[in-house]
Amino acid sequence: MTKEIRRILESVPDPEIPAVSVVDLGIVREVSADRVVITPTYTGCPATHTIEQSIRAALDAHGFADVAIETALAPPWSTDWISDAGREKLRAYGIAPPPKGAGASALKNAQAAECPRCGSMHTEEVSRFGSTPCKALWRCKACAEPFDRFKCH
């Protein structure tokens, strides 16, 4: 049953980046027969409520109306929780995935990002804040295209 619930959750897309699921992003922290524990990515992420509603709707549609959804803040979400499959989906979607194990230490010396379009490492940060809380604006100096980068967090 837990396996079945997890499979359903894997089909629930993130509302801001529909290419990845809530499981890929590491938002789902715990799955048991009677509850699903989720955690917000950013405290102010406007998608938090939508995510909970989407998960509720998916569970209800598959006959798991009795499974509760709980939110936990601790331990705080980290981009290290994004799965390898999730990272590949982000790249394919045009968003440079965050390097693993970067955490907060990457703040001051942002490591070079690989351009998700042409693969060049010849890139630069334009703005540390982007179109959603989880992304920064970057630009590729090789192919001249701008791109989003998932912020290390």
């Binding site: 917000p40 405290t43 102010g44 705080p76 540390r128 982007g130 604006l137």
Partner: protein, 253 residues
């Protein structure tokens, strides 16, 4: 009137009010910032702060136990029941004044949350640990701009100096301690803010040095926000922020 919340709820409300009022202030920049990247940055910081406020005010309401949630506390209290520090309610002024306020506040908040993430009360510790990662971004953003404006043109430098000058009077209040702080510390939730001062001075001074700016001269501190004595600016901010819920109580999406 001073907030009638019990001490620990008051402590949570102070944290929430700081974030809420500053978040609302930054929201005023949306669509007006000097460049699109700056617009995005300030809006993102505002969102983070409003997220913090939702958690802290929700916690304040839960501790109070009278059925008030975060929205009720945000939209249905009057100006004298707000307990935010005076720094966060100061007007945006020009971009440099906004950056000065963010710079001084974010470094304080980062130090505060570093300590609060370690407190015994898991509710406070969890919010602080979560928010800390975001606040570090805010502090970095503001520091970068202080350096860029301070070590920029004559015009940008003059504006940065004027912005810091405006905000400096309200920094002592950040580290002031009273009975509510003592009660929160006794309950395993509070932080000794006075003890953060030396680290804050060091962080602020390091950035000011890089920005080729002198530290503003010490002057008489203006305090009172924690007990509901606010500047005239907060009432105007609340009248805009609270209008919809006051006119249509309980309205939702």
């Amino acid at each position: 009137m001073v907030s009638a919340l019990p001490p620990l709820a008051d402590y949570a409300a102070r944290l929430g009010d700081d974030s809420l009022v500053l978040g609302q202030r930054l929201g005023e920049w949306c669509g007006h910032a000097p460049a699109i990247e700056v617009d995005l940055s300030l809006s993102n910081v505002a969102l983070d702060l409003i997220g913090q406020a939702t958690h802290f005010l929700g916690l304040a309401g839960a501790i109070e136990g009278a059925g008030r949630d975060a929205d009720k506390l945000a939209f249905h209290r009057d100006v004298m029941d707000f307990s935010n520090c005076l720094l966060v309610e100061q007007p945006n002024g020009d971009f440099a004044q906004t950056i000065a306020r963010q710079f001084l506040f974010s470094h304080y908040q980062a130090l505060l949350f570093e300590q609060m993430a370690q407190v015994k009360d898991e509710r406070f510790a969890a919010i602080a640990a979560k928010a800390l990662k975001e606040v570090n971004y805010h502090a970095t953003l503001a520091s970068d701009w202080v350096v860029r404006l301070g070590d920029g043109t004559d015009e940008s430098k003059a504006r940065m100096i004027a912005g810091l000058d405006w905000m400096w009077r309200f920094t002592d209040e950040l580290f002031a301690m009273d009975d509510v702080d003592a009660a929160a510390i006794a309950a395993g939730a509070g932080v000794d803010k006075a003890a953060l001062r030396a680290d804050w001075d060091a962080r602020v001074d390091a950035v000011l040095a890089e920005a080729t700016l002198a530290r503003p001269a010490a002057r008489r501190a203006i305090v009172g926000g924690r007990v509901g004595r606010h500047s005239e600016h907060l009432g105007h901010l609340l009248s805009e922020m609270q209008f919809l819920q006051r006119a249509y109580p309980g309205a939702s999406w």
